[in-house]
Symmetry: C2
Subunit: 146 residues, 2 copies
């Protein structure tokens, strides 16, 4: 049996986070010792590792809640879990596209900064003037109805 501290260390999750997960119902209420301290077995460790892994992969706690409820009754079809993963994949591809554009823009900004005065600084200039921006891709919805 693990105390909350040990569990946190093993799973790479901070102690208050574990209590938070219990509070919002992602983890079941833990057993308690005689002195009212939480005690965890290996099932809890697995579940926590699952949550942490999914968080690292960018799943929201809501998606994780769904995935967990799927894995809690493993006799249903895989389709639901598959759908969740696919939705996440779309999200990720989206974020990836935006981030890539963003990286290009920042690189452009940084490269063009010759170390002069701020008055001539491309960083400030580009940030101040949208028309200097290479990626229309970013902030497309500005000025709809002039």
């Amino acid at each position: 049996m693990l105390t909350i501290g040990k569990l946190g260390a093993k799973a790479g999750v901070k102690v208050p986070t574990i209590r938070y997960y219990e509070q919002i119902g992602l983890l079941p209420e833990a057993e308690r010792s005689a002195g009212n301290q939480r005690l965890y077995g290996s099932k809890a460790l697995e579940r926590l590792a699952f949550i942490r892994h999914a968080r690292d992969l960018g799943f929201t706690l809501e998606a994780i809640r769904d995935l967990l409820s799927l894995s809690d009754n493993p006799d249903q079809s895989c389709a639901a879990a598959d759908a969740i993963a696919k939705a996440q994949l779309l999200e990720v591809e989206n974020r990836l596209a935006r981030l890539t554009a963003l990286k290009a823009e920042l690189e452009r900004m940084v490269v063009q900064c010759a170390g002069g005065r701020i008055a001539d600084c491309r960083v400030i200039e580009v940030l101040g003037d949208h028309s200097l921006c290479a990626t229309d891709h970013l902030h497309p919805e500005t000025e709809e109805t002039p």
Copy 2:
């Protein structure tokens, strides 16, 4: 002179967000009309556009606060602005690497889920068992001190 609504429309920022920016000191307190409504000139519009653009590029409000204070006294060296932009670039590259790894992982998950029962479904398995994870890259700090 623009009312807050017009300003928001021009800059692509919602009205409460403008008030929020004023509240936290990113925008100066606006002039008021006789009836106590905020009025903005073109300087405010520029500043707000700057903020929005920087937010789109992923800068935190703190970083933006710094950038704005730099651009408020434009006779100093560009180095600080450059540093902020470079830090942001690093951050973005980091996120990009993580997201790329994540995409591969999700693709693997989706491909391997052939539509069987959850018991055979790799989605749950991959998320639950770190060792099945293709990308060591993610969650590196798990289990430091066993």
